[in-house]
Symmetry: C2
Subunit: 611 residues, 2 copies
């Protein structure tokens, strides 16, 4: 066979890479003209553009041609996005072209991830993620920009690092006000505090416990993280490769303490905020705190509640609670099992806390009964790790080039509106894999569910933050009858028992209300006022119109990591993954305000529910 | 132009990669036959094989055909090395083919780096590095082997991580003896302790200070690391990318303290060893320690001195020291400058400590005179970083794929015999770059040198561990006359002055003897006995027959990180780079002994100098 070598043709316009490049060229032109219709025309009929701060100064997802056109029309001129370029060759699989890209705006630099489909004879964007990475002229001092550390030379007024840190600690909250006050110093407050420190935004994290990490240390003794290590990294400093897959609580506590110190996060332990009020005119909060018992008034411009995504405890009011002679408390107040060996314990609830507490009580030899009031979704931890997270967060993913940073963006690029469609097949696999386990649970009388649409645990987490158990062992105790199970609603308590609506009487020395938590705006009600809590409305949930996640559709986590209807008030938190990834965007929003940049919020969320 | 496409020929035997592969095939065959002559024949006439543990259970470099043949003849049958394979394509530059490779031995897996030259019509090994990475069946629990952390399931006898750690801490040294006792808990003791922890070897690090990191915190206040961050990482957990280039001492102190905690290094602070003796028959040490004032006897099998590579302070004996009415102390005892504002200070010596102390005293307003007794080599810190380290340890190196791990191996692969030939051109560049500075120093009367062969700082460090200053600013004070300089030998002290041999009288309220340190076997003399110290002999130095590094040629750092003539006694330390890299090899040697493997030492070093 012979062939003639011709001069190389133009780059092959049929490669995924060339097609994606051509698409971005057209996109950039349409964007430059702020031509919403033209941009929409580059998108598939079903399309989602999720923007994390770079275009919208908000976390928002627009849907369909109308949504895309609106986002462009409202923002493109101001944002002046340009310089779109693929950061690695675009890839095609199953008819979807995937492209990682970078871009600039008038104020910053961003990263994006797009998925394209073929439609009407051309490549059209199906999912489109844009994120803000940094603000130009205010890049973080990392890598080539890292600080020098030493001031070479000889100076009669030299101030050492230690002296500077001590002076800063002495001034903070006394002569220098933090621009941002973060209430709550768990992983959320620490991750955000660390980001703000890096960004040079004066911030202070306060927490009621004795030391950073006590939020974990003080929980029940057998607790380990339910998520695997690859999912749990904090910003900037990853766990070393000897870190356990599921870290024990005290080890995580030590890491958080270490991290807070070496990242130089300004952090006050033993400090509680007792009240807060906002002065609209001055654009400033007055926050009363007690630091190690001493009262102090702070005046931050921005107030972040990072007090736990679970919000305030829901304790049911039941007749007879006043006559019950045993001990009763909410799961969040449960001191651990040690005092209850040999005691009769009734745990009301059947989600994570309930199972964890039942398991720990059984381990010390308590007589344990679980009261299941509604259906629960259960997945085995190992199965969840393999099937649910493995593609993005695992040793194999890292080996395949999916760093935590990339995994976070891939995950963020899946629009909430269709996320369940990616999840359902995974949970179908899990159900099949652990069929024997589920059969045994049902045989034991346990009322299982897989979410209203079979989409499983992560959607339940995002929609309502409850309704599931990641099984690390306690479910088997229920299946085996080692932990007794009864189903029904509690009617009242007597001096010595819990009585269900059907008359079942459960003798009890201890009653644990593992009855969940309210919306996080409850924290605002307690700290600020009911009026402000109501102005902000419900925190968490997508508006999916499924149980405990009422509509209308919001398309993002309500009120999380983004501006609320209350100026200067923000909510931060979630699991370690969210604390890590979304702290990036919350920190940039706060930094932009600190710098005095214009930050017009596109589609500031409406409030539909008070809590 | 047309051409005929032929079936692909055999891999091109002229590519560097194919040639290196062919070389390794021949090498492996010759090795399998334990044919020393055949292996030697594959080497260039000038050749160096440096083995770090994998072939020799030693750190050793053999030179020339005779050396290679001997190493093979003595070890190849036992080691049974095989499976040599390139780990990335071999590369050719300037007539040298460079190949990274992996291999196995009868007991472990290793990594190597070879450089080949063309000689006698074929590829011949010029430099050849073999290292041991892990012992088969005893791999470290990292990455895919990391611990699970939680024991899923429900157990009535559950022991939590915290409980296990507390039990271990209570038992260690009381009912459980450490197999390895490491005396000295600076970066050396911590890095080795961390490796042994990972390897599952029971070890204990003891240190006299209150907290890990105090070794740095307690030094003079303006101290920052003189080496840049890329050179300074500890094993397993790298500094984050916001870490300063030259970290301040207190920041390094904090890092060491928390590293010790999160790596779970068994570590006793406030503990001193008061005596040690070895029972040859039992193969065990008896070490008396005081832990927080309480006496305790330990019985480790292996004893590691990590008490500082500088060894014991050299304090000159001078007439009149007994009549001098001011304050006098060795640089290692210098408390920092604060008490000496306005005082007349005479610093005897002109190396690192002398300059650092002079600079700090000047900064607080002392009247400072430096006494230079011999020539000193000075390089500016920034210049050293750019020219001396940049190719291996810098942001650019990391971006170019030269990880710290790779840089360490590249550095280790350069034979000590010819290392100076790689260094000389770098120091020629530095001299040129900072010519103006050196001219000013000489004009100020400073006696400069560049090492006996112009090979500069790093060779001085390896040969004698002294004789230089990495200028972070204080040299300019001498150039400007802000710190006064006199040259000469000290003859005696009077009640109020230092008097030189030429009669010069220097009034002094304070005399600092920045007069260096002795050999590390001085520690052994103090702790164990002079007899053992003499059996071990001089520690440090290459045997280069240059000042303070007497011959004969050793070819490795004497007595460092490898077996000594005293069974069960080891020396560990050096800068952060050495503490990191060589702790790998010391840990594997200790682990092999802990496992009871046969560890015949090839070429156990001879002793030529007592200290």
């Amino acid at each position: 066979m012979t062939q003639t070598l011709e001069p190389q043709a133009e780059p092959d316009a049929t490669t995924p890479d060339a097609r994606a490049q051509a698409w971005f060229a057209a996109f950039e032109s349409a964007l430059a003209a702020a031509d919403g219709a033209a941009v929409a025309d580059l998108c598939a009929r079903e399309c989602y553009w999720r923007d994390l701060v770079s275009f919208s100064w908000n976390l928002t997802t627009v849907e369909g041609h109308a949504g895309v056109a609106d986002l462009v029309t409202e923002n493109a001129a101001r944002v002046a996005a340009h310089g779109f370029a693929l950061t690695e060759p675009a890839d095609e699989a199953d008819g979807v072209v995937t492209a990682w890209f970078g871009f600039e705006t008038s104020v910053g630099r961003g990263t994006g991830l797009a998925r394209f489909v073929e439609e009407d004879g051309g490549l059209r964007a199906w999912t489109f993620l844009t994120t803000l990475d940094e603000i130009k002229g205010h890049e973080e001092p990392r890598g080539t920009r890292r600080p020098k550390g030493v001031a070479h030379g000889a100076f009669k007024d030299r101030v050492t690092w230690k002296e500077a840190r001590e002076q800063e600690a002495a001034d903070l909250g006394v002569t220098e006000q933090p621009y941002v006050l973060i209430i709550g110093g768990g992983q959320g407050g620490i991750a955000l505090g660390s980001r703000l420190r890096q960004h040079g935004v004066p911030a202070l994290t306060i927490d009621k416990h004795d030391r950073p990490g006590d939020q974990w240390r003080r929980r029940y003794k057998s607790l380990c993280l339910h998520d695997p290590v690859w999912y749990d990294h904090l910003p900037y400093l990853k766990f070393p490769d000897n870190w356990p897959v599921f870290a024990p609580k005290d080890k995580i506590g030590d890491w958080l303490e270490f991290y807070t110190r070496v990242m130089e996060v300004p952090y006050w332990s033993k400090t509680v905020a007792t009240s807060a009020s906002y002065d609209e005119e001055r654009g400033e909060w007055t926050v009363e705190v007690e630091r190690d018992g001493q009262p102090l008034t702070l005046h931050p411009t921005q107030l972040v509640l990072a007090t736990g995504m679970s919000g305030k405890a829901n304790v049911p009011r039941l007749p007879g609670q006043d006559v019950f002679r045993g001990e009763q408390h909410h799961s969040s107040q449960h001191p651990g099992p040690d005092a209850y060996a040999g005691k009769k314990c009734v745990v009301i609830g059947s989600n994570n806390s309930a199972f964890d507490i039942c398991g720990a009580l059984w381990e010390v030899g308590a007589d344990v009964t679980m009261v299941q009031r509604s259906s629960t979704h259960i997945v085995k931890s190992d199965t969840l790790m393999d099937i649910g997270l493995g593609a993005l967060y695992s040793e194999e993913a890292v080996a395949g080039g999916v760093t935590t940073e990339k995994a976070d963006l891939i995950f963020a690029s899946l629009p909430y509106r269709i996320l369940h469609t990616f999840q359902i097949p995974l949970y179908d696999q899990m159900r099949e894999k652990d069929k024997d386990f589920y059969d045994r649970m049902e045989k034991a009388g346990f009322w299982l569910d897989w979410g209203p649409d079979g989409s499983g645990l992560f959607m339940k987490y995002l929609r309502r933050g409850s309704g599931y158990y990641i099984d690390v062992g306690a479910a088997e105790l229920v299946a085996d009858g080692e932990v007794k199970l009864v189903r029904g609603q509690v009617d009242h308590l007597t001096e010595s028992a819990v009585v269900l609506e059907d008359g079942t009487e459960l003798d009890a020395d201890l009653v644990v209300y593992a009855t969940g938590y309210g919306s996080m705006n409850g924290w605002a009600a307690d700290l600020i006022s009911q009026e402000v809590a109501d102005r902000v409305g419900k925190v968490w949930g997508l508006g999916s119109d499924t149980p405990k996640d009422p509509g209308p559709w919001e398309g993002e986590q309500r009120n999380m990591w983004k501006p609320t209807q209350q100026p200067g008030l923000w909510f931060h938190g979630g699991n370690l993954h969210q604390s890590r990834h979304y702290s990036q965007f919350l920190a940039l929003q706060l930094k932009a305000r600190y710098l005095g940049l214009d930050t017009p919020v596109y589609r500031l969320q409406e409030v539909h529910h008070l809590g």
